[in-house]
């Protein structure tokens, strides 16, 4: 099958830097958008799992015993500021200002690393206070969701470090504005996911205790059933 007549395979040259596309959107940028759409469902499923099990832990520590909203507010602020630094980095790359690009990317990396530092501190503190991965439903869902978010941030940091190295080695125009733009899309997405996580796990779920009478899911269905009766 598909024995393309390879003896006539044409010789190749380096392609033009950006190929023409049907929509005018670059292939890689479109790929990133599609990936982010897919990643929404990934985080959506993890968040749904957390919400289903919210307030269902039979043994403590419960969120109200352990969640520290003020300190995570600081780390949230740091991460949001990193998005600002990223925007400035993208603008510098578009303007071809290599020096500014490196500065802003480094700033983004430092802020992202501080956020990860907060997360490491928080995970370790929880462990010391007796909340291990296998302790209860809260710990399993919390560590899985925030852990995968942290992994996304870490991957983003690795990506940004690569961009800084490329920029430092190539004073003339690499990485392109598009390269930085795509990394920026990813970085902003990860930040937006954190806003949702912070709201649901800290601001709303951070004060949960042991299960109340009646399963939350049952209560939910009873409420829906009430609408129809």
């Amino acid at each position: 099958m598909a024995h393309a007549d390879t003896s006539h395979a044409p010789p190749a040259h380096p392609p033009a830097h950006e190929e023409e596309t049907t929509t005018g959107i670059n292939h890689r940028k479109l790929l990133m958008w599609v990936f982010l759409g897919s990643d929404c469902l990934f985080f959506g499923s993890l968040i749904a799992t957390y919400m289903v099990y919210r307030g269902q832990s039979i043994v403590g520590p419960y969120p109200r015993d352990i969640i520290d909203v003020p300190i995570t507010t600081i780390s949230t602020f740091v991460l949001l500021m990193s998005s600002f630094a990223m925007v400035m980095g993208v603008a510098a790359a578009r303007n071809g200002n290599q020096k500014r690009l490196i500065q802003w990317l480094l700033f983004t990396i430092i802020l992202g690393a501080i956020f990860i530092g907060f997360q490491v501190y928080e995970f370790n503190l929880f462990r010391v206070e007796g909340l291990r991965y296998e302790t209860n439903l809260f710990s399993s869902t919390f560590f899985t969701l925030t852990g995968f978010h942290g992994a996304h941030v870490t991957l983003g940091l690795f990506w940004l470090v690569c961009l800084v190295v490329i920029a430092a080695r190539n004073p003339a125009g690499r990485p392109s504005g598009l390269d930085v733009d795509i990394a920026g899309l990813y970085w902003h997405f990860v930040d937006i996911v954190w806003i949702v996580i912070f709201t649901l796990l800290y601001l709303i779920g951070g004060f949960d205790g042991p299960p109340e009478a009646g399963h939350a899911a049952v209560q939910g269905w009873n409420w829906v059933a009430g609408l129809f009766s």
């Binding site: 380096p14 469902l41 099990y53």
Partner: protein
């Protein structure tokens, strides 16, 4: 950053084993997908055969109950994830760039990565057989059957981690085809001029990238429970096994359409060609496909009618499930409408396509019968469901796939298959399929449960089961005819020529098999069924159709160069998954081993991004 290039020189050959390992040509990757899928079709078929032999008579003891559990688990998993999906990928790969007038997919190396990751994941899953650790909790692996205390050994870990690897492959392929179809269409190929097959590929790919993250999360939770003591499905800690069912079927129902939509796309190409008429109601067929994809997200709980979700949930999902039958039925009418008053040519692809329509209607009707939740209470977990799913996936997807194999065989190989042998294959498979699965309706309505390894005599199930087992062997004979026809025709088939069927789509306008660059001159599309337009206009002018090579020197076309980095990255991914399967009594060994796999992946990705898509030394290389 370390520059990782030149550890091994970049491959430059286009022949031999190394060229297949490093190929980024979508046609060759399609061929690799096709042969791999057929290999696993045989594996899954043998698994089915073991079950059919065991069930041929009452109180049989060919296999043990445990082995039977392993067989139905692996049969379902293999046929869905390692046969029908990669057969779909075969057609996506081979056809999409040809049909939209492109030279390759948007990301040729990502495409190679998808294939190798798929192959390694499938091999990882089956490598459990070598050490006697076979998954045995059904292809749906309901919690908490899968919890460590109830499923000892590594079988379920093989299942979960291999599926995770297969998911990576499917996601990468989904991203690639979405970008390819949206962004690489030839001038004039607007969305509503795309062949229906390309539309269905787009819809399927969107479903893929949205559905697979859900099973990814479910598998992460299952793996966390089994390996790291998490509580997701641990009822003792308050966990809810129903959560698994929701996550699994929220993925699983779109997955059903991921399996069937490519086959619907295939027959939507074949029926017009052999009816000598454009597809009846093209926009309606496209729209129905899109509606099916959207509605597939609102029907998952019909797999859970007997769980006890309550009358409101059951009513809602009864209604949505009956509604989704409407766009499916619309498509059936469109195919029938296409054949109506056409001059039908009953070649093998057309027979297979008509077989698809007929058998899919049977499966669809039985599907509507258990869309009604009270009726489903009678049918749940009986052979009636087994009959339904096989009418949809064997009568539907597999007939569609064979229809496509026969139809594009001349384009893929440059040779014609043997028509009589093809028809023998069709009739044997059609009879065998109905002999196997039709009696299951009766066995099921007579109360025969699914997934039992044997049954006592006297329930009246013996006759139906014996018929089904005979039917299985008729299918086996039909497939032997197919295999003979396939390889015989590669060697001794008649040369096919560019356009043996007088077909409407662009892939038939170039030579068979197509050259590596596909189109010497990118075609300009001026309507639906573009090659019919070209031929009609050429005939009106009384001129022959000219090939692009007449205007363009192919040696000036730049194609992506082969690369071994996708292979390295895929190998890292499967090593990463395999690391968690190591069982030497000391659990902490899993992490360092898995991290090595992660590092291999990172090295692969860095090497990949450091090499240009097209190697420079090719410009002055030995190729003329």
């Amino acid at each position: 950053m370390v520059t990782i290039t030149g550890v091994i020189p970049r491959p430059t050959t286009y022949t031999g084993l190394w060229s297949w390992l490093t190929t980024v040509d979508h046609k060759r990757i399609g061929a690799l997908y096709g042969f791999s899928a057929f290999f696993f079709f045989i594996v899954g078929g043998i698994e089915a055969g073991i079950m059919r032999v065991q069930l041929a008579t009452s109180d049989n003891s060919v296999v043990s109950a445990d082995w039977f559990n392993a067989m139905f688990t692996m049969h379902g998993t293999t046929m869905i994830f390692m046969v029908i999906m990669p057969f779909g990928a075969t057609f996506f790969n081979f056809l999409v760039p040809l049909m939209i007038g492109a030279r390759d997919v948007a990301f040729p190396r990502l495409n190679a990565f998808s294939y190798w990751t798929f192959l390694f994941g499938a091999l990882l899953m089956h490598s459990g057989f070598l050490i006697g650790q076979v998954p045995d909790a059904g292809w749906f692996s309901y919690a908490n059957l899968t919890a460590a205390p109830f499923s000892e050994g590594k079988g379920l870990d093989f299942w979960a981690l291999s599926l995770q690897v297969l998911g990576v492959a499917s996601l990468a392929a989904g991203f690639n085809f979405i970008v390819t179809i949206i962004n690489m269409r030839a001038p004039g190929m607007s969305l509503m001029r795309m062949p229906v097959f390309v539309w269905m590929t787009l819809v399927t790919s969107i479903l893929l990238v949205l559905a697979f993250p859900i099973i990814t999360v479910a598998l992460i939770e299952l793996t966390a429970d089994r390996q790291f003591g998490a509580n997701f499905f641990n009822t003792a800690a308050g966990g809810d096994p129903i959560l698994w069912q929701h996550l699994f079927w929220l993925f699983g129902h779109p997955e059903v359409y991921i399996l069937i939509l490519p086959a619907m796309g295939v027959v939507s190409e074949i029926i017009p060609t052999f009816s000598r008429k454009p597809l009846f109601g093209y926009p309606v067929v496209v729209f129905s496909g899109v509606v099916i994809a959207i509605m597939s997200w609102a029907v998952w709980s019909h797999h859970m009618f007997t769980v006890g979700l309550g009358p409101i949930a059951n009513s809602v999902f009864t209604i949505t499930t009956m509604l989704i039958a409407v766009p499916t039925g619309v498509k059936i009418f469109n195919w029938v409408g296409t054949m109506w008053n056409g001059s039908i040519d009953l070649k093998t692809p057309m027979l297979m396509a008509i077989g698809f329509v007929a058998l899919f209607v049977v499966g669809g009707l039985s599907g509507v019968s258990h869309a009604v939740s009270p009726s489903d209470f009678q049918q749940q977990d009986t052979y009636y469901i087994v009959a339904h799913i096989h009418y949809v996936l064997f009568g539907g997807a597999i007939f569609g796939i064979f229809s496509g194999i026969y139809y594009w065989y001349p384009k893929m190989t440059g040779k014609m298959y043997h028509e009589t042998l093809g028809k023998v294959h069709f009739w044997l498979m059609f009879v065998g399929m109905n002999l196997t699965f039709f009696p299951m309706h009766y066995a099921g309505l007579n109360g025969m449960p699914r997934r039992i390894y044997t049954y006592a005599e006297g329930f009246g199930w013996e006759g139906m089961n014996l018929l089904a087992t005979i039917g299985y062997f008729v299918i086996v004979i039909s497939l032997l005819v197919f295999i003979h026809n396939f390889f015989r025709s590669i060697k001794r088939g008649e040369p096919a020529g560019n356009d043996p069927w007088d077909a409407p789509t662009l892939e038939w306008s170039i030579s068979s098999p197509p050259p590596a660059y596909n189109f010497a001159e990118i075609p300009v599309v001026r309507g639906q069924d573009p090659f019919w337009i070209t031929k009609r206009e050429a005939a009106a002018r009384g001129e022959p159709i000219t090939q692009g090579e007449a205007h363009v020197d192919p040696s000036t076309i730049h194609m992506p160069s082969p690369s071994y980095w996708p292979l390295v990255a895929s190998f890292g991914v499967v090593w990463l998954a395999g690391g968690f399967l190591i069982d030497v009594g000391w659990d902490y060994i899993r992490f360092p081993v898995a991290i090595v796999g992660g590092l291999i992946t990172i090295i692969g990705v860095i090497g990949w991004s450091n090499e240009p898509a097209t190697a420079e030394h090719h410009a002055t290389g030995e190729h003329h």
